[in-house]
């Protein structure tokens, strides 16, 4: 067990972790943060996406011990201030179906439009290509991001 501390959704947290505990398991099972989901445990599906120091990562592929002194944020961090414009357009357009991929997908899309406020369709596809969705066919997700980010 090693004692680590990291900023989680703006709050500094302390805990003891085993070296083989994944960040995903620690977030979900020990810190009660449930928006990152497990869909493969293998880095394929992106449902476990979280932000590490502002960049999206797969929390199933990272050990909790690695985030000592770093900053983690999840979809809860965005939602605590009300829905973001991206979340709002996803809601209004009935974009998601089962919603299981939504937390990861929204973080990937948020990262994209933060760095690139007017992405092309291909850039959007590239940005969310690591987030598997079996329900929507992706088209509604892409169209909503395009609509939100189009130049006036």
């Amino acid at each position: 067990m090693k004692k680590i501390s990291f900023k989680l959704n703006g709050e500094t947290r302390f805990l003891h972790v085993e070296p083989n505990e994944t960040l995903l398991d620690v977030l979900r099972d020990r810190m009660g943060v449930k928006s990152p989901k497990c869909g493969c445990d293998n880095g394929d599906c992106g449902a476990c996406t979280v932000m590490l120091d502002g960049k999206t990562v797969r929390s199933c592929l990272i050990f909790a011990i690695e985030v000592d002194n770093h900053e983690i944020s999840t979809l809860e961090n965005i939602s605590k201030n009300g829905l973001s414009p991206l979340q709002k357009i996803f809601l209004e357009k009935n974009v998601f179906q089962c919603g299981y991929c939504a937390p990861g997908m929204i973080l990937s899309a948020t990262e994209l439009i933060t760095n690139n406020p007017h992405p092309s369709e291909h850039e959007i596809k590239e940005a969310i290509a690591g987030n598997l969705c079996r329900c929507t066919g992706y088209t509604p997700v892409i169209e909503a991001i395009l609509e939100l980010t189009k130049k006036d």
Partner: protein, 779 residues
Amino acid sequence: MKAYKYIGQSVVKVDGKEKVSGAALYTDDLEFGPDLLYAEVVEGPHAHAIINSIDTSEALKVPEVLAVVTGKDFPFNFGLYMKDRFIFAQDRVRFYGEQIAAVVARTPQAAKKGAQLVKVNYTPLPKILNPLDSIKEGAELLHPELKNYEHVPWFFPKADTNIAHHRKIRKGDADKGFEQADYILEDTYEVPRYSHCAIEFHAAVAKYDHSGRLTVWASSQSPHTQRNLFAQALAPLGIRHNDVRVIAPHVGGGFGSKAGVTMEIIAAAIATKVQGHPVKVMWNREREFYNTYQRLGVVAKLKIGVKKDGKITALKHDLFWDAGAYVEYAANVVNAVGLSAIGPYNVENASIDSYCIYTNLPPGGPYRGFGYSEFLFGLESHMNRIAAHLGIDPIEIRRRNIIKEGDLTAYGAHMNPNGLLQAIDKVAEEIKWNEKLKSNDPDIALGKGFSLFWKAPAMPPNASSSCFLKFNEDASINLLVSGMDLGQGFLTVMAQIAAEILSVPTSKIRTENPDTDRNPYEWQTVASHITWGCGNAVRKAAIDARDQILALVSRTKYLPVDTLYLEDEKVKCTTHSKFELPLKDFIINGIQMEDGTFKGGPVIGRGVFMPEYSSTNANPETSQGGHPNVHYTVGAAAAILEIDIQTGKMKVQKVVEAVDAGKALNPSLVKGQIVGGILQGISTALYEEMKFDHRGKLLNPNFTDYKIPTALDIPGEIVPIIVEVPQPDGPFGARGVGEHTMIPIAPMIANAIDNALGIRIKTMPITAEKVCLEILKKG
């Protein structure tokens, strides 16, 4: 037509905010406290073997292991349509990875460690990995007890064979029909197994408390059916239906995989052995692939005879289904296809034999489309080939043969009103069917493909839905139903139905996934029947509540009931324009009379729907005489496909699909089904394939080796089209569309390849490799 306020509107989903905010909780997100136990399943490493002995002694010595359970603890059969399945393997294993035992411990690590120490001694048996081998003379019997299994009355197992069910259609005289034909085409099409690939794993937590109450939290499409099957299977332990409670949180995708009962019963059963503790059973991605249901594989032999003008004179369709080790659900896929494998055509002479065949592969079961994708691959490929031979346009030959309202289906019932012709016209127009494609790149070939589709809900004739509708003081509503919102938007549409009838906005109607203690009965959320079936129950409950409201106002305000109506959450009167009574003024506490007394009380609506005209009573030799399917949903699809002739790599440039929704209660949700279904269809057509080795072991049970599309793999353009020819017994004319949207995709693509290159692929998936090899062969 009356203008609707909520019906036909693209209302925002009632659970949308939960899902975009991350608040939505799925089964594995729930907390069960520090007493939660974890179970790890022990799996058999043989596709077919006798279990001689199981030694659990070492596993029980692992610290924090509380119990090890095996088949001996639960010697019960269970199953939805045929009781051929077991909670844990009994005397033998029948597929690679079948559950044999489970170790229950305080931590997942201890449970895993214990599971590795369970020693099982096997005697391997000959295994059968192919349905055609399974029906050979002298084949090893997979279920010698087949003749003793309980099953629904519309199944016909063949004792002392591996055929668990045979659905037979004999309509008209097929032999005579073929004699009359000017041209006959006969060929075989093969479709392999597929995995649903819902992103959420199966998960179940069960607690059997010291009062004898069994509560199960499960990721489920079928909470009431699960309760029923748990209670049936565990009845020997003294458990009754009202002792069992199934709670269904949000579901992270189903596509059929979470219908019926699979791994959930393991949690329910184990809980009875560790009374007082909640116990969790979690599947992982690998088990999602090899130990839930898989889509069945099929070898389909198809023969169609036609006149010179393309009119079908006879059809013979023999389907040999690889149904897997247990067919309690799969046999009904086989049955459904048997009833419908003439496709959406008016065929006077038909002979269909659909065989449900046991193999030593994982259990087949329901998958979006319920067998229709599989048989339409051959049938819709065949139609194009016949058209080409006769020199008739592929769409024209379909127009000449399509089934119309009132025509007889394969089992002799009348076809329902439908917009198939409209769907064909709209798709043909949008894809510019008559315009020739021209490729500007010599390495790229372009082709257009077309396919029709149809599908009926496959349900028992008495599958029913029900609804309680409770008003609250502020005239908001709790709508209690037990269908599952799998993402299709079921709950939203139910709220829209109630809103329309009661004039209460959908924002004031709360409707959530069910708890079987609180919510009334629903059969299952499968078969694309839920909008239609449960929608009817909600409609009836809302009408029941409305009638109570109007009757109360009539008798207390002395106004004729037929002059009263609801508008904007108020009761109004056609003859007194100034009369209006807000619902919130009386909906709970009643209406006060001059003498100070109150009349009325809380308004509670009740609605039940069962299709009372449906029947499976029919001649088993012909299937004539009953009315097994309530109706069909139909449609058409077309695509433009580009093929790199150097590599065989394909890209769908454009897809158009029209589906007859009867009435699109929420067009944005219908379009969501079309767009999502198209990509799932493209994926099965082009990319996905299960690979089993000679042992029957699945070699690619993960997303690295079993590819599903990413955002980079979508078609260039998708045009969803909604056709609306009302379903007479549907709520506001609606019928289901959820499964249908993926059904036409594989034959549509096969037909596009043929159009582009003159190459006919008769086995799925249609990989780039297969296409490239055919191009090379052609020279």
